[in-house]
């Protein structure tokens, strides 16, 4: 109550903020989130220093030295970086294709880009298993055109994980890139041309730097999301390609080692929060189209 009154009186240069009906309506949502999301997270992470009793920082010591944890951790980081790079290149290019397309094609391309959002993650991951398995369409095609004489093992490989995650996470890059491009003032391109820039120079020296904000925002989001990916690697990857999320789950469900699981979760959460802290302004600007303090 004090803070509400304080902000009503308005201090210094800050704009006085009135409690709006919409803001009041947010409280139940925040309360639900607090109970079903924030509280369990706090409980799990607090186990990292309390399980077993008197654990202190010993769990964190294991996280940073145990070869299994490090292997799963490296899997996670490597996959996340490759997926981020792949979605960045393909997503920006796809967004540019939408931007340059005529009105009818633009609708179609946007629809295709958004399609993954409207289908379940599980269904999409399973679809990739159907496509990539030994009797799937890719191997059928390769066999038919006699490129190979026996099926290529595509499923249960790092390649399958990267491919699946890239496809699923692409919209998170396409949308902010497309938004940034739609906001691009076409006169800037004409100005560059009139000043002596060939089309390629106008693109790389003006269009790309101005629309890069969308690419950076989308890439941060993809990086954050792919660090915590679970279902897709489980369905498409082999035993050696599993991310840290899978190890955390197995520590809890089979080893009952809540302390180690909690400390691994704490490390991942810290990395994700750090990335978001670095990129939040960009993400907010690209997705919400506004400056966030």
């Amino acid at each position: 109550m004090n803070t509400v009154l304080g902000s009503l009186q308005g201090g210094g240069s800050r704009k006085p903020r009135l409690p709006r009906p919409a803001a009041l309506g947010m409280w139940p949502v925040l309360a639900v989130l607090l109970v079903i999301f924030v509280w369990p997270t706090v409980v799990i992470i607090s186990r990292s220093v309390t399980d077993p009793p008197g654990a202190g920082l010993s769990n964190f010591h294991r996280v940073l030295t145990d070869p299994t944890v490090l292997r799963f951790g490296w899997n996670t980081v490597r996959t996340a970086l490759i997926v981020t790079a792949a979605t960045a290149v393909i997503g920006y290019g796809y967004a540019y294709a939408i931007y340059r397309a005529g009105p009818a094609l633009r609708v179609l391309l946007l629809f295709c880009a958004l399609l993954p959002f409207w289908t379940s993650l599980l269904v999409r991951s399973f679809a990739w298993t159907v496509i990539l398995r030994d009797t799937g369409i890719v191997n059928w095609l390769l066999l038919r055109v006699d490129v190979v004489d026996h099926p290529v093992g595509l499923l249960r490989t790092p390649f399958a994980v990267t491919l699946g995650m890239t496809q699923i996470l692409l919209p998170f890059v396409i949308l902010p890139c497309y938004t940034a491009m739609m906001r691009f003032d076409r006169d800037l391109h004409l100005a560059a041309r009139s000043l002596g820039a060939r089309p390629s120079a106008a693109f790389w020296l003006v269009f790309f730097p101005v629309t890069r904000v969308g690419l950076v925002a989308g890439s941060i989001l993809v990086l954050v999301l792919s660090l915590g990916y679970y279902i897709t690697p489980v369905l498409l990857g082999g035993p050696g390609d599993q991310p840290i999320a899978v190890l955390i789950a197995s520590q809890v469900t089979t080893q009952l080692d809540w302390g180690l699981a909690g400390s691994m979760a704490a490390v991942v959460t810290a990395v994700v929060l750090a990335l978001l802290a670095l990129g939040w302004r960009l993400v907010a600007r690209a997705f919400l189209g506004e400056e966030v303090r």
């Binding site: 006169d187 004409l190 100005a191 560059a192 009139s194 000043l195 002596g196 003006v206």
Partner: protein, 369 residues
């Protein structure tokens, strides 16, 4: 080299046509701009003036016709090889580059060495009185400063022609007046060819050597500001160039019969073809009087009128009046401290020697109200 040492180029347009999705926007345009001339393209929005500018810049290809610059056919030559400076309405500075990088951009494209580049950037910025602003970002500058940077950027590579597309449209009125004079001075100092697009007739009158009035994709009239203002060739030009009062009439021999039996008078030295014509007075050439006052000095036509509205404008008062014939026009009178109320009857006194006679075409410029 110093700025502006390149000899300016003339521009020649012949039979230029352009359509967008089957809608013609330019109907066979012929226009010659002499080297070193300041020409304004004036007209309402959608009249084709900006399209013409884009065709000259090479941003748009004409469907038919030729554009020559300095005698060279520009067909198929992309904008980056035309050596034309363009200034846009919204400045179009590159937001991610400093002022120096913006101004240096055309030099970078021309592979000018770093030393010489810095020297030319410095000189171009001092030309627009922005020396010392090299490291600022565009968003840190006011609108007027941004437009000066844009002008410096468009001049730094010594183009033969400078195109300006409503460059002052986004600035407030006072700053606009200052910038008008600065641009005019730059033109006189550098002697380059300037094609200036505007929809503001005062701006065109103030700055230009010649004005090209556009209407619906055609050129209505080309002439010096004085010619355009005092001797408009068509009713459209007359209406567009400012407030006026005009009457329809019919010319037979040496006699004019005003429409609706408003009166008749003899032509005084005016050469008007027989038939339908329109007689127009600039709003400052009309006097008004109380209905009862008799004032007969010189060949003056006296017509009863009703005040529709009045607007106070400092030393003058603008009255919108309706004549008995139904014609509506605007007259400007000196402010006498009190505006006549709406609906009051007055007389307008029209001096026949100041009338402009025009063939009565159907195409008129109507101010949306």
């Amino acid at each position: 080299m110093t700025l502006g040492s390149t000899s300016p180029a003339g521009i020649h347009l012949q039979g230029v046509r352009k359509s967008y999705r089957g809608q013609p926007v330019l109907h066979g345009l012929d226009l010659t701009v002499a080297a070193g001339e300041f020409v304004s393209m004036l007209g309402p929005s959608g009249s084709g003036k900006t399209t013409t500018l884009k065709v000259i810049a090479g941003f748009e290809q004409a469907d038919a016709g030729t554009v020559t610059l300095d005698g060279r056919d520009m067909d198929g030559i992309p904008p980056e090889r035309r050596n034309i400076g363009v200034v846009f309405q919204n400045y179009s500075l590159f937001p991610h580059m400093s002022v120096a990088a913006n101004v240096g951009f055309p030099l970078r494209m021309r592979k000018v060495g770093k030393q010489q580049r810095q020297e030319q950037i410095r000189r171009a910025l001092s030309l627009v009185e922005l020396g010392g602003y090299e490291d600022r970002m565009p968003r840190e500058l006011s609108g007027g400063q941004q437009q000066r940077v844009a002008i410096a950027r468009a001049l730094v590579f010594e183009p033969q022609v400078l195109l300006m597309d409503e460059p002052l449209g986004a600035l407030d009125r006072r700053l606009r007046a200052v910038m008008q004079l600065e641009i005019k001075e730059l033109h006189e100092r550098l002697g380059l060819t300037v094609v200036y697009v505007t929809h503001d007739q005062e701006e065109a009158l103030a700055m230009s050597d010649r004005i090209v009035v556009f209407n619906a994709g055609r050129i209505e009239q080309v002439g010096t500001p004085r010619e355009i203002f005092r001797n408009p060739a068509t009713v459209f030009v007359a209406d567009f160039m400012g407030d006026s009062l005009s009457l329809s009439g019919n010319v037979t021999a040496n006699q004019v019969q005003l429409a609706g039996g408003a009166g008749e008078f003899a032509l005084h030295g005016m050469v008007v073809p027989e038939g339908a014509a329109r007689f127009l007075w600039r709003s400052d050439a009309v006097r008004v009087a109380e209905p009862a006052v008799l004032d007969q000095n010189g060949p003056t036509l006296r017509l009863p009128a009703t005040v529709i509205t009045s607007a106070y404008g400092g030393d003058a008062l603008r009255l919108r009046v309706r004549l008995a014939s139904g014609d509506v026009g605007i007259v400007t009178v000196r402010d006498s401290g009190q505006a006549p109320p709406a609906g009051s009857a007055i007389s307008v006194l029209l001096d026949l020697s100041t009338a402009v006679a025009l063939p009565d075409g159907a195409d008129r410029y109507e101010v949306a109200s």
